[in-house]
């Protein structure tokens, strides 16, 4: 249970970090280490070079920007969890954080590292999908942005290229009147989700105007499903509609079994949590 040897590079600035990545195709970024070091300890990964970005305090911030909030990639989980700005502009993210990891892990783990790790059962990618978050990536060649919908590609896979550093995540502020919901079932609170369902919901009178529903723990990555959202858009915002969306979720997902939950249980969870999370969101459409 010890990591394989590696070369250690301490980046002093963002430019330093991207230069190190450009130089060495075998280099891997080390943020909070709360996923990476665990995987190195069991030798699931053996990076040749680690570029430690913990000194990049310039990427540790939460600020209001262009109708939303911008979170620096090196912001620790615990900072996001306790941020009044996050609670005000993105209450769904604040809610999700009640379910993310344990205190000691949150003291070190970073918001950016969490998204880049892209664990299929991780909550933050699902939240990023329904809130319409945008990732800002930087390499020695320049900057680009990627929408959350295009960012998560598979188990531990994202659209970030090897030479790119995630520097910022932008999340639009909750529009007035938009409801939101988060529900999760996990073996122990703070562990990865067996299934988590998150949503945002906007009404026009008694009708669903827009709904976004995303799932964690049921596929190789956080996902939205067109049939679920189609079962909602333009329909009356009531229990029957929410139940129909739940039924659509049961059909749309294609979960696998593991020792925490088998496929049938995940389908049950997806259906039930979809229904409940939408009802919770409706109650918050004020």
């Amino acid at each position: 249970m010890k990591p394989a040897p590696f070369r250690y590079v301490r980046a002093r600035s963002v430019d330093d970090a991207v230069a190190a990545l450009a130089r060495d195709p075998e280099a891997k970024l080390l943020a909070g280490g709360q996923s990476l070091i665990a995987m190195m300890n069991v030798r699931a990964v053996k990076p040749e070079t680690l570029v430690d970005i913990n000194a990049l305090s310039a990427l540790d911030y939460i600020k209001v920007k262009d109708g939303g909030i911008a979170i620096g990639a090196m912001t620790r989980h615990e900072t996001v969890k306790s941020s009044p700005l996050v609670a005000e502009h993105c209450p769904l993210l604040a809610e999700a954080y009640h379910w993310i990891a344990h205190r000691a892990v949150r003291n070190r783990g970073t918001y950016g590292g969490n998204l880049c790790h892209a664990d299929p059962a991780s909550e933050n990618p699902a939240v990023a999908l329904v809130t319409g978050a945008t990732m800002v990536l930087k390499s020695a060649k320049g900057e680009r942005t990627v929408a959350a919908d295009d960012f998560f590609k598979g188990v531990y896979q994202t659209a970030a290229r090897h030479d790119e550093l995630l520097i910022e995540v932008r999340i639009p502020s909750r529009p007035k009147g938009q409801g939101w919901g988060f529900m999760e079932v996990s073996p122990r609170k703070g562990d990865f989700a067996m299934t988590a369902v998150v949503c945002t919901l906007e009404l026009a009178g008694a009708t669903v105007k827009t709904a976004r529903v995303a799932y964690a723990g049921i596929a190789d990555r956080a996902m939205r499903f067109a049939p679920v959202e189609a079962a909602l858009t333009g329909k009356p915002a009531n229990e029957a509609t929410f139940a129909a969306a739940g039924a659509a979720a049961r059909k749309a997902i294609n979960p696998s079994s593991d020792f925490h939950a088998d496929e049938a249980m995940r389908r049950d969870l997806a259906e039930t949590l979809t229904r409940r999370v939408l009802a919770a969101a409706k109650a918050r459409c004020t």
Partner: protein, 159 residues
């Protein structure tokens, strides 16, 4: 794979050492400094027994490389109290039977130190939430919760 020079203060004492980059903070503390009060259970972040304070905040020392703690102040269980002069939390654990085998206890105590710093009078729910990342295979947690409540009481000046 050259070694790195690091300076770490542990329990108020400064250490200048050279370490391999892959040296875990847990192994640095236990093997290099011979402070074996910090326990290592799972070595991949699940059990919490290796919890120490780094610059006042709880961290899993098995998920931290010693090089990442360069310049930091670490507090381990050895810095909390002694058999003759126990910390109020240690007294609480003693009085309320908060341990059986004692393997998880250093991690439980360091976690509780952080909790009481922020919430001097935590509710039972707050205690359980704070302990969510620490596993104990002996006690069933009930006496640990009571021990922390008792520790809080002693810290508040209770007898």
């Amino acid at each position: 794979m050259s070694n790195e020079k690091i300076t770490i203060t542990v329990n108020g004492k400064r250490y200048d050492k050279e370490v391999e980059p892959r040296r875990l903070l847990s192994d640095f503390i236990r093997d290099d400094l011979r402070l074996t009060g910090t326990h290592v259970g799972c070595e991949h972040g699940v059990c919490g027994s290796c919890t120490v304070l780094m610059n006042g905040k709880s961290v899993r020392s098995c998920l931290t490389f010693a090089v990442m703690a360069d310049g930091a102040e670490i507090m381990t269980i050895e810095g909390l109290g002694t058999a003759e002069n126990m910390h109020p939390l240690q007294k609480g654990f003693w009085e309320k039977h908060g341990l059986q085998c004692g393997f998880c206890t250093p991690g439980m105590l360091m976690t509780a130190v952080e909790l009481l710093k922020e919430k001097p009078r935590p509710s039972v729910d707050e205690i359980r939430e704070a302990l969510s990342g620490n596993l104990c295979r002996c006690t069933g947690y009930q006496t640990i919760v009571e021990s922390i409540q008792r520790g809080a009481e002693i810290m508040q000046g209770g007898k």
